[in-house]
Subunit: 201 residues, 2 copies
Amino acid sequence: MGVYPKNFEALVESLKKFPGVGEKSAERMALSILDMSLEDIELMREALLNCKKDLHPCSVCGYLTDQEVCPICSDESRDKNLICVVEDYKSAFAFEKVGNFKGVYHILNGLISPMLNKGAEDINLSSLGRRIENLKHPELILALGSSLEAETTILYIKEIFKSKDVTISRLSHGIPMGAEIEYLDMMTLDKALFDRKVISE
Amino acid sequence: MGVYPKNFEALVESLKKFPGVGEKSAERMALSILDMSLEDIELMREALLNCKKDLHPCSVCGYLTDQEVCPICSDESRDKNLICVVEDYKSAFAFEKVGNFKGVYHILNGLISPMLNKGAEDINLSSLGRRIENLKHPELILALGSSLEAETTILYIKEIFKSKDVTISRLSHGIPMGAEIEYLDMMTLDKALFDRKVISE
């Protein structure tokens, strides 16, 4: 026999399929199932199935939704001319949690990466082109981080929309709120100095 | 609307019930469900239910099992006179993974903790007393770690089995295999010196 009871082994193996969950964490999580109420477990089982069955990218922006067009794209109060271009769902969730952004999103579902042989056709970019055709001088906010892949993608987007009637912006770089200057990495500090803002003249 | 689609929100909330899983990890895990095959998800759903329904402590030793008596206790080849007393399932799993222990277990399912108001009657101890009644000079290996609670429990077990025909041992303390002496904590080093083993005389 193995170390674990058969059913327990199956659960540990299943939980190990989650990202960042190794043998030890899976064991701990599986043990916690024994102490959970049957009701909570049924809720989890339902949620697992419902997520897999009902969720897919919004046909307009690529946001995760159970509808054809997501609630953000269908929200009359949001500015359709202000499009925040993000790498993945997680980035869009992060902005929505802050809650101050009143525009819409475009989820690329990846970045251009010559190293991984991922080109513009492998991410959700062509639909962005079609999308802005119908808009009147939209602004694209590129919120893509500062990795090499992000820089490549930003360059590419700038290039393909060069001749279009569109403003392209990107997030500001600088010192994070609450950070101590002495502990900042040199690149950030250098960037913050270079991009300094005049507050009185 | 919330940040997440409704079904996704439900899954994130469910996953946060696992120990050590916060908002960020739950979000990441829930997103991974979207990329999993329906088959893998069904396996996970089944395993969740089966674990909750079928698993319970062995009536003899308290090991996790789907039978009345666990495979370890029913294994003819294992020495019933050699009982390794552990705090929880996880400790027993750890010994089973090593695979060298040919005795049986007794899972206390907790430790005596005066601070948490947990006494001997709150852990699986009385059954241990009944268990050794039928044995011929058994050995109890107390594998309980070295926390204050472990020491208290060890003292208590020594006390109640004082007049019985039973050998009580505990795991050896010392330097872990592969450890560098210079990085060891002082208590371990002191203990390793005190408990040194003569290798030639």
